[in-house]
Symmetry: C2
Subunit: 450 residues, 2 copies
């Protein structure tokens, strides 16, 4: 069964709807009011909620619906599912109080009930769905408390609602946007693998960010992740890596975290990108959202040759250190190219890799180096400390032109301050991602090379 | 000889002063005009520069001075030093074009000349000195292009001018401030070790941030770093870790980077803090600038027991993963404490470590946990996702009160968005550092535990 009903339901039943946004059931109802399709709120005390017809019981709803959202205490969920029989394709069980607090028996009952009724389940203990393209939003956080990210090409799949919220904030700060987002919690039925499978065909998604705490079926995960990686850029962040944190992950969603080292080595074996922490996840997804990753050329096995062009020596060295940590090679500039560059630049420019154009740099120098070295490297890190007269908005124009002409992976580090704001905005508009440290720029570039 | 003349000279000679801020010698002159003590600009073409008396030659200056700043081409530097004989205690050689571009012979000549004349040298190829407490500023970056950080308790020692500038930006973003900053470049005479020694007695400095690319005398470095660590919080970031990046570091300052692994193991052996990258350096220095590190209590060897209190499960798990990477132990909550907490909290709160107060949290819950567990742990990570109704400004007041009363290491992760701005500001005013990701909060806490 396609998961379309989850992202774009023809109609929605909200069980546990409330009349006020002080209650979570009211927040969700408010968010659903923007959805252009029928919403049937259920609450035994009301005939009308927030200006639309409400239903005292599920039985009172005569129209068939696609999806139910359940926001009632955990113990009521099995009964509610039975009442939904034949009315919906699936349900989002927002309620918590299941395996994550030791109530595994209740969780099993919910799982079995869903299976018996042929009803797909998201959750329980989950955040639900956000689809900005369809304006479908089941999150129990008011818009005033969390501005939603804009539309974009990044899909977010998060086992944790908290991380989904944090990812939203980071997405906004990255000048990227969301195609679809799902917080799937305890994953008793629909899990990351099902969502990977669904997203293979999703034309609105280029990048898939997957935050996983624990895996149900490891083999299925790998199969679906590999299939997805063929058409989209997938990045996985696995948490619960150690004994104590894996216990925490278990508590959080009630699934076993498994042995991390095994998981990581399998990901690596199949070429599936893994981020080590939250920042790396966002650094990679920003780059992948802006640019397409490249394959190695001229018979080499990997595209991993990086050139760093900087106007600050130290920043270049930090970037080179980070390259080393990621298996990226900061190979020397070929002798003939070096000779050419020496002919056009002052003698105090340091023409190695990193190419250090020093505080005396002019905007055009970056383009001179890029043009000369474009065929020698797989990707470039541009570091521009904007506190000196030679760095102006023109740099953004030059890099934009280069990027459009040659389509080479190109990321940038520019420290954020008053003067750099405009340059950063121009670069990011030109789909050149800018990062707040040399190391983070390299993490971004790494995602584009394979 | 004390290095006071470098940070607080009685008077300054500026060789290579210019009449306009388009030239670097003009920028430095402009910055020196704010210094309340005599400045003698030297330029063969002017009798007056920027409203003060200028000198055609060094010989024309009759008054003795403390310090010279040299901003003339590299080849002129030996002659200039000879002309300064007997006039100054030392000189900042800003000029580049020495060992970093292969001119080691010229660099040696400068070194020998300084030694023969008994003149201490900073540089060459360096940024110079910034001392906000004395308003002494030799940086060749105009204030309009780089707003200076405010006064504070962090000293910055950077071999790289670029990194010094980036550190300034990061210091401003951290709501911390600078006691003294030195960019010392090729370090032919005054190096990080000399500066460590000087800072031992500096009452304005609590934290020393040391960015090092290459070491002259490794033993001296370790001796002085150990001595400094007894009274101040020292954090070292060593770049040039690998073959290619260490070649880059050599190009950059003309000193050999040495074998990184040896350096790192010696630092560890002597308990000197090392940061792995720029962000970690800043995360640690922010925490150390806000709070004093603690020693282990009750006969334990290390203070490494961490409690994570969160309202988002996933964020807690990521923090726990990061603790594991740093050798911090996320030990379980003792059974008797667990029983107490279970008695006061709803059953869907997940009472492990991390303590997950869920999206239903109220501000007071954090304080309840802190009060109950304060003697069980060495430090606390507070994670508050502010998008839910239960998190308000009151949280900042409660944490402030706890921190003032118990003086326990306490760091926080709050994603930055519209609603959280006020809470973050209040917390940082109360000297509780707030970080943009769970992992970075842990990096901050790590610096406070030893």
């Amino acid at each position: 069964m396609s998961l379309d009903f989850l992202f774009n339901p023809k109609s929605v039943i909200l069980i546990g709807a409330a009349h006020t946004e002080i209650k979570l059931g009211g927040v969700v109802l408010q968010n659903l009011l923007n959805y252009g399709r029928p919403v049937y709120p259920v609450n035994p005390k009301y005939d009308e909620l927030m200006g639309i017809k409400a239903y005292r019981t599920i039985q009172d709803i005569q129209s068939p619906a696609d999806l139910a959202i359940i926001m009632r205490p955990a113990v009521e969920v099995p009964t509610i599912l039975n009442e939904l029989e034949g009315k919906v394709k699936g349900a989002i069980v927002v309620s918590s109080g299941f395996a994550e607090v030791g109530e595994s028996g209740l969780q099993d009952e919910v799982k079995k009930t869903g299976a018996r009724l042929g009803m797909r389940l998201l959750g329980p203990n989950c955040m639900g769905v956000f689809n900005p393209i369809r304006k479908f939003d089941t999150l129990f956080i008011a818009r005033e408390r969390m501005k939603r990210p804009r539309k974009g090409n990044v899909a977010i799949l998060s086992q944790s609602g908290a991380i989904m919220v944090s990812l939203f904030e980071a997405i906004k700060a990255s000048n990227t946007g969301i195609s679809k987002a799902v917080g799937y919690g305890n994953a008793i039925d629909i899990d990351e693998s099902d969502l990977f499978e669904y997203l293979v065909e999703d034309r609105e998604t280029d990048v898939v960010v997957s935050y996983v705490e624990s895996l149900g079926d490891g083999r299925k995960f790998i199969d679906k992740a590999r299939a997805l990686s063929e058409s989209k850029s997938l990045i996985v962040l696995k948490s619960g890596k150690g004994a104590s944190s894996s216990a925490a992950a278990f508590s959080h969603t009630g699934r076993l975290a498994g042995k991390y080292e095994v998981f990581a080595s399998v990901l690596k074996q199949f070429g599936i990108r893994e981020a080590q922490d939250f920042d790396e996840l966002m650094d990679a997804s920003k780059a992948l959202s802006y640019q397409r990753p490249v394959k190695p050329n001229s018979g080499r096995k990997t595209a991993n040759r990086v050139c760093i062009i900087t106007n600050g020596g130290g920043s270049g060295v930090l970037a080179a250190d980070e390259c080393m940590r990621h298996g990226l090679e900061v190979v020397r500039v070929p002798q003939n190219k070096l000779t050419t560059l020496k002919g056009v630049f002052p003698n105090f420019y340091v023409l190695n890799n990193p190419v250090d154009l020093t505080a005396q740099v002019k905007d055009d120098d970056y383009l001179t180096v890029l043009n000369e070295l474009k065929d020698e490297y797989d990707g470039f890190v541009i570091i521009a400390l904007p506190n000196i007269p030679g760095i102006t908005q023109k740099l953004a124009e030059l890099l934009k032109g280069f990027r459009e002409k040659f389509n080479k992976p190109l990321v940038s580090h520019i420290p954020s301050d008053g003067i750099s704001g405009r340059i950063i905005a121009l670069l990011e508009k030109a789909r050149i991602p800018v990062y707040p440290s040399p190391e983070r720029a390299v993490k971004g570039l790494k995602a584009l090379l394979s």
